[in-house]
Structures are given as C-alpha cells and as structure tokens.
C-alpha cells in the first residue's frame, strides 16, 4: 500500500509542518539527468516551502531509473525524459496517470564560430559537414529521426551519441560541425555553442512525463512535489532553462 501511515504520526515539530502528516520528511525524486539543473532548483524551493522536509534526487538516464523503479527502488516521484521509459513503469503498474509537464524541442547546435556555415537543416546533408545525432534508442535521437523524416532529408551522421550531452560535447569541442540537440542544452552551454531553430523541430517535440509512484513511501509529499513542478513557479523555472510548456 502507500507508504503514508497515519498511525506512525510524527512526534516532533517537523511533522507538523509536513502538511500531509505521516512520518515522512523526505521525498525521493527520480529524474532524468537532463532535469538536473531545474529540478535541483525546484527542490530547494520545495524544501523552503516545507521546512523540515528534504527532497532527495536520483538523477540518471531515464531508462536506468525506470529499471531501478521496477526493481523496487524506494522512489516517490518519477520524471522521465520520454514517454517510453515512463511506460516501462506504468506497465509494471507502479505508477498511474503520468502527466506531461514540459516538452523539449530540437535545435541545430553548431560551434560558436560555425566553421561549416550551417544555417538550416538542409545544410546537414552536405557530406562535408560532420554531423552528430543522438542514437535512435534515446529520446533526442528518436526526435531527430522524426524531424529529418518530416523534412524529407537524409543525413549521414559520423556518430550516434548515447545521450544529448555527449552530442553537445562533440559540438563544443568542434569535433563535429553540427548536431541536433535540445534547446535546453544549447541554453545550458552558455554560449559555447550556437543554436539554430528550424521549422521541422515542431514535428519532433519530446514530452517529459512526471508521475507519483504507486508505492511511494511519502505519498502526499510526492503529490505536492508534482504539483510544484506543474505549478506556475515550476513552469517559470523550466521555461527559463529552455523547455516548452506542455
């Protein structure tokens, strides 16, 4: 059943402030690594809004997190970077009704000096332009395929990276001339790469679902954290990092 047991009601002042009662003063959030910055910030404001409560984050690849949850990890909230990984958890009946809380859209990332003079998607088909894409198995790769399909372009990348950060690193170091990455990543790179919008990006939007987990030990706190993410405050933090609203 759900972890919140009213019988074990807190004895200290801390429990009073934990509005949901129960002994839980901790909420454990499993979140995709790409949410590291934003969720850490949201966690801090959650903790100040609920004194005595701590938010424990476990950041990692969405797939790993899903795997851990299926294997019985004591998580309260799961925020995934793709619906597919969330599905692993819902399929195991460990979470119900995930909500999409943000979307992320692709941009063309090029090194700050843009050596290959890329300025639209079509330029990536030039065989002299070294392109890095995410592997199809990871969300940004799936999105890239969708976008390129939508544009009817065939790109031969030199590499299919395991995640978007690795792809971005290749651009930052100038190893490739262009890559398709999320807008959030371009913003996070703080000017080391230049982002170029392209219209087909709209056809390959990636949804980030969030859900409380069925066996969450800190059930009510978990709900409150999800609420915070979905609130205007959450939206502000996420948009500032480059995410689109749902």
């Amino acid at each position: 059943g759900s972890g919140a047991d009213p019988g074990a009601a807190g004895t200290s002042s801390a429990s009073a402030s934990a509005s949901a009662g129960g002994g839980a003063k901790e909420v454990t959030v499993f979140a995709a690594a790409s949410l590291t910055g934003t969720f850490t910030e949201l966690g801090k404001s959650f903790e100040s809004a609920h004194p005595g409560t701590t938010v424990k984050f476990n950041f990692g690849s969405s797939a790993t997190l899903a795997q851990q949850i299926v294997q019985g990890a004591p998580a309260d909230v799961f925020a995934a970077a793709s619906p597919a990984t969330m599905k692993t958890v819902t399929d195991a009946s460990l979470a119900a009704s995930p909500t999409t809380f943000v979307r992320n859209r692709l941009q063309i990332a090029v090194p700050a000096d843009n050596p290959a003079k890329v300025d639209e998607l079509k330029d990536l088909t030039d065989s002299k332009v070294k392109v890095a894409l995410c592997a199809e198995q990871v969300p940004c790769g799936a999105a890239a395929v969708k976008a390129l399909d939508a544009a009817g372009l065939k790109v031969t990348p030199v590499t299919l990276e395991q995640d978007v950060k690795a792809t971005l690193t290749k651009v930052e170091l100038g190893e490739v001339d262009a890559a398709l990455v999320y807008r959030t990543d371009v913003i996070a790179s703080a000017g080391k790469v230049k982002g170029i919008e392209f219209p087909e990006a709209g056809k390959a939007i990636n949804d980030y679902p969030i859900a409380t987990l069925a066996k969450a030990p800190a059930g009510d706190l978990a709900k409150q954290f999800v609420d915070l993410v979905l609130s205007q405050q959450g939206k502000d933090v996420l948009t500032k990092a480059g995410f689109d609203g749902p």
């Binding site: 690849s61 790993t64 198995q137 990871v138 395991q162 290749k170 170091l173 190893e175």
Partner: protein, 293 residues
Amino acid sequence: MSPSPPNQPGRPEQVESPGSRRGSGRRSAGGREVAGRLPWMLVVPALAGLVFLVLPLAGLLIRAPWSTLPQRLAAPHVLEALRLSLVCASVATAVCLLLGVPLAWLLARVSFPGRRLVRALVTVPLVLPPVVGGVALLLVLGRRGLVGQWLEASFGITLPFTTAGVIMAEAFVAMPFLVISVEGALRGADQRFEEAAATLGASRWTVFCRVTLPMVMPGVVAGAVLCWARALGEFGATITFAGNFPGTTRTMPLAVYLALETEPEAAIVLSLVLLVVSVVILASLRDRWVSAS
C-alpha cells in the same frame, strides 16, 4: 685390512625385503593427500568471493529472454558489434603490450629521478572517469586538440569517429592495468637470473626478451587478460572519443547501452553474448599461456 668386517655389508638383493616383509603393498599416497588439508580460512572466503562474482550472472541468465534468443542473436548488427569489439580489444591489447611492458620494465628496473611520480601518473587513466578520459583524449587528439590539429594538418589523420579512435580509447583506458600488473610481477621476480644472463653476454634487451619476460610470463598474461577484458568492456571513453557508429565504432558495450534504453532484454542478450564469447576465449587462451609458462 681385516677380512672380517664388524658390520654385515648390505647387499643390493636385501633391499626389497623389509618392505615386503611388512606387507605394505603399493598403497598409494597420492599428491593430494600429502599436500595437507585445505584451510577453511582460505577456502570459505574464496568460495564467498566466487559466489559474489558469479551470482549476478545467474540473475542475468534468469532474466534473459530465452524464447526470442535465437532471432536476437541472428541479427546482423550483433555479430558486427561483436566482431568489432573483439578486434578492437585485441588490437588495443597488442598496443598496450607493445608500449606497456617496456614501461613496466622501466618502472621496475631502472631508477631515474621522478620515478615515484611517473609510477603514480601511470594510474591516471585508471582513476579518471572514462567519460572524462574520453574528453581528455578529444582535447589532445581531437580535431581541435593539441596534437590532433597537427595530425590532421600534417598527415590528414583524424582519430575521432574511426575504428582507430576506438582502439586508442580502449588502449588509453586499459594500459594501466597491464603496466601495473607487469610491474608487480617484475618486482616479484628474482633479479639474479638477469645478472646471470648478463655474465653470459646478454645485453639488457636480450636479457629482457629471453630471461625477464619468460620468467614473468604469468604476470604478463594476467595483465594482458585484465587489459583485454577492460578494453572489451570499455564504454565511456570509447563513445566520448570515438563516437558510436554501426560497423566502425559501435562496440558491444555501446550496443548494450543503447539497447538498455529501449529493451532491457535485448541488452541482457547482448551482454550474455559478449560474456560467453570472452569467457570462452579467455578460458582457452589463458590455460595455454598459463601452462606454457
């Protein structure tokens, strides 16, 4: 010279008799029996260690999708990745042997100023998280790297995104295993045999090839096994430095990692394939090496 000796001289013919007098027969006291009881203080932890290492394998085996296994194995990209993995790990090991064994020798046999520091620096790639190792390689050997720039300008060689890059990355990550292993073996070896070789006119190079190396062969084999296995399982530095493209740079660990993102069962199958192949190779090769030396 008295003709009457005080003792009866023993005759060869007498030799057999006392044994048979006692009727002992040919009761065999085999090697095992004589060698002494096995100490449980060693056997118990050894078995615990073995269980600890092997049990997780059981988990994988149970979880493996046995019914769909044949199809999954037949997929061409599996064999491709496997072949690439084996080739790259083997070539990387060869490179490591070529450079690492001399380095180990230098550390163990030649005293020069700064040896302590050099010995510690050799462990650098060991401790560096592999992804950072990959980044470091890019910073040096990448298109805009310190050396890479020059390599590309002078020879038109680019290492990232090539199979050579995979080998570089694997060698970088795996070489310390070889060096440290071999250095340990060299330090444990009796140097007086090398002295004996020198008195026979053997130069230090000949001594190294014909005396030192054969004598520390078990250590070199152990080091090469570690090196090969580490190279075979290498993921972070490889994907960071060499990228991931089927046929040229996608080794098994990369395939496994990506499979894990979408279908964990496939990842387990791939891992098991890697496992079985490498265990078989090691079991056959290592036994020959180990007994040959």
